[in-house]
Amino acid sequence: MFRGIKFLPGETKVDFVGKRFIALFFSVLLLGSTGVLLLTKGLNYGIDFSGGIQMEVRSDKPVDLHDLRTRLNDIGVGEIGLQGIGETGREVMIRIPAFDNEVSQNAALKAVRDTLGPSFEDRRTEVVGPKVGEELIRDGILATILAMVAISGYIWLRFEWHFGVGGMLALIHDVVLTIGFYSITGLEFSLTSVAAVLTVAGYSINDTVVIYDRVRENLRKFKKMPVKDLLNLSVNETMSRTILTGGTTIISVLAIALFGGEVLRGFALAMILGVVVGTFSSVYIALPVLIYFKLRNTDAIAPLEAEAEPGAKQG
């Protein structure tokens, strides 16, 4: 009978916790450079947040970009960005930066549409007024913060406050690095990006919870084991699962990156990075944090009930 391949040879005994300072060094370095990057380069805000007009049009014949640019700039509605997209040379992306108010923005849209004329097909048009842009920014930030608080709160309820703090730190780490990924790649940061950030947060905490669960179980099982060894044991025991689930998630997201089209590519790339970062933070941030709290001798960890079944592993 075919049993499947074990991706890891038997039991691993890697000293993850011992290497926490090296990992921490990398994390701080990454977080620091992300901070600098966000302050200097910033994010390439998509139309959802920056407001403005973005049109994707397709002509019935190859487009002379230079000519079109001249014609559009003659309208005088601000600096119009033009970019040929796709391979046919018939598709063009038109961007017009934000306006002070909705009325002049709508007038500009009408002028651009009139200038393009009937030989262009509207593939996609997005017009976001300054008011909506501001609201979307506010909602995006609010959603991210609330998600982090809610998730940490749940962990606090189900485990203990130490775990909640560890989970929160790992979350902040992952959210910041995922946003940093958008900054360094210059990928457009849009509403879909907020979805990517939140999904990364969900995935990362999912991963953290699995390891925490094992830590809690081992704390009950091995009452005498030093915390460091116990944490190492917990990571190693769950390592196979971590790699497998990370693997299936990455390959499914990879399918989106390769075949899901332009709109979802940024989302998928950020998710791939997020899965890697989320896995890293569960092992190197969420877990080592627990060393610095007194995990034992607390009321919340009840003694292991009826765990000494025959055959079960003992100390």
Partner: protein, 523 residues
């Protein structure tokens, strides 16, 4: 372990059957689903997949309030006139109507009483010096806004229906916004023009004593105003008219308007109600030889000469229309005027070709994603991997069925949510199988390992999924449009995956164990 409770078995079968039933309409053609009941319909495609327009508009609340207060000024003026009271400084100031009542104590009291009677929904306050302040309280303002919003919704609905859009969706959002979704309309230019017009029509007499040149220099008599013409002059210059401020007949008396032809030029013919017809008849009878300006949203459509009294209560509007222009104006007049002007805050439209491309991309990535995950699971877990894959496929059926049952809309990010669910859904099975391996390696029997795998992994699966679910719920709450579609598929996918990965896989393992009685753990 070898025992799978009867009620559980029944539950699993019931859920699966329901999933298959609700998912099934997605596989058959539209001609068949059109005959099926409302609750059994395929997933509706979002605008980003089928093509269409999304418009967000806002009522201009400030303008609404200003108009209301100016109305109060008119009411106050006529009230004071009928009561024969003297006053000074009647005007709109800082969101209130103010005036100073002259005269003695009893005249002030009389004024207050009369004003309260005339404007019952507002608060009328008066100080010792006779300074009157008329304001609308919070409640009255809310009621006004509410009324304006529902009127606007009705009128926009009428206008869109007349445009002949298939299955439009028009919904209010918050206190003063309306979301309009027009499937299949990829260039909403015409829709915007028709929806966006306030269409307030009034008839004014042209002031023939004041020349346009004088008016342009700023010499306008107090009872007149300078208005722009809707069409430019043949030489391209703007055309202006000087008209009397007094509204002779208002558009609310119109009962019908239709496009027609007058000497082969497109015109709009209209009909007044009984009262409007009488007023119109009197105005035209009294002013034969004068010009009557037809004003739409503060622009003069045309100002024809009154040749004779029009007593039948109907007439035509000429104005150099195109055929389309005449039928649009007739539509606007039929649907009535919006209570206040509106502003488009957001427009998102997707053409049919891009929508089709997105569907192709979504289908392709789903199939590739499924194939990769299925392959990976077989390689990793062999026979049990196949069980997990059956559960995964059933999970997809449940997810699609669930989305169809709740009437969700499938968007491109929604498809991404489905693909991502495939990758993350197997996590539950991974947790269970890894646990079995561990327990078996620690010397448990096959049966006991399998038992422990399921029972011990469950708490972990629950915790891990609740946290992801929290992220999905918040994303739904704060997200909009396509992102909401993602949140719905991700959230529902988590729930269905817990069912299929835990219950369904367990059922398959139990059946297999009974049949084979294995001596070694096959993972």
């Amino acid at each position: 372990m070898l025992y799978f409770q009867k009620w559980k078995l029944a539950l699993v079968m019931l859920v699966l059957a329901a999933g298959v039933m609700f998912a099934a309409p997605n596989l058959v053609g539209r001609d068949i689903t059109d005959k099926m009941p409302n609750w059994l319909q395929p997933l509706s495609l979002g605008l980003d997949l089928q093509g269409g327009s999304h418009l967000l508009l806002e009522l201009n609340t400030a303008e609404l309030m200003r108009d209301k207060l100016e109305g109060v000024v008119d009411v106050a003026r006529s009230t004071m006139r009928t009561e024969k009271l003297r006053y000074t400084g009647l005007a709109v100031k800082d969101g209130a109507v103010v005036a100073t009542i002259l005269g003695d104590e009893s005249e002030r009291a009389q004024a207050r009483k009369a004003l309260r009677g005339a404007i019952p929904s507002a608060d009328v306050e008066m100080d010792d010096q006779g300074l009157v302040k008329i304001v609308y309280g919070e409640k009255a303002r809310k009621a006004m806004l509410e009324g304006a919003l529902s009127t606007t919704l009705d009128i926009i609905r009428k206008r869109i229906d007349e445009l002949g859009t298939r299955e439009p969706s028009i919904q209010r959002q918050g206190d003063n916004r309306i979301v309009i979704q027009l499937p299949g309309v990829s260039d909403p230019k015409r829709a915007r023009e028709v929806i966006g017009k306030t269409a307030r029509m009034t008839f004014h007499l042209v002031d023939s004593d004041t020349s346009v040149e004088d008016a342009l220099r700023g010499r306008i008599p107090p009872g007149s105003m300078l208005l722009e013409g809707m069409d430019a002059r043949p030489d391209g210059q703007k055309q202006y008219y000087v008209v009397r401020k007094k509204v002779e007949v208002a558009g609310e008396h119109l009962v019908d308007a239709q496009p027609s032809f007058d000497q082969s030029a497109p015109v709009v013919s209209f009909r007044f109600d009984a009262l409007g017809g009488r007023i119109f008849g009197k105005v035209t009878a009294d002013n034969v030889g004068h010009n009557l300006a037809i004003v739409l949203d503060n622009k003069v459509v045309s100002a024809p000469n009154i040749r004779s009294a029009i007593l039948q209560g109907n007439g035509v509007i000429t104005g150099g229309f195109s055929t389309q222009g005449a039928s649009d104006l007739a539509l606007l007049l039929r649907s009535g005027a919006l209570p206040t002007s509106i502003t488009f805050l957001e427009e998102r439209s997707v053409g049919p070709s891009l929508g089709a491309d997105s569907i192709r991309a979504g289908t392709m990535s789903s199939l590739v994603g499924l194939a990769l995950v299925v392959g990976f699971m077989v390689v990793a877990y062999g026979l049990f991997g196949i069980f997990a894959n059956i559960a995964l496929v059933m999970n997809m059926v449940l997810l699609v069925g669930g989305l169809s049952a709740i009437g969700a809309t499938l968007t491109l990010p929604g498809i991404a949510g489905i693909v991502l669910t495939m990758g993350m859904a197997v996590d539950a099975n991974v947790l269970i199988f890894e646990r079995m391996r561990e327990e078996y390696a620690n010397g448990r029997s096959v049966l006991s390992s399998i038992e422990a795998g399921f029972s011990r992994a469950f708490a972990t699966i629950l915790d891990a999924n609740v946290t992801t679910l929290a992220a999905a719920v918040l994303l739904y709450h704060f997200g909009s449009g396509p992102v909401r579609g993602f949140a719905v598929t991700l959230g529902l996918g988590i729930i269905t995956s817990m069912f299929s990965a835990v219950m369904l896989t367990r059922l398959m393992v139990v059946v297999w164990m009974r049949a084979k009685r294995p001596t070694t753990l096959p993972v």
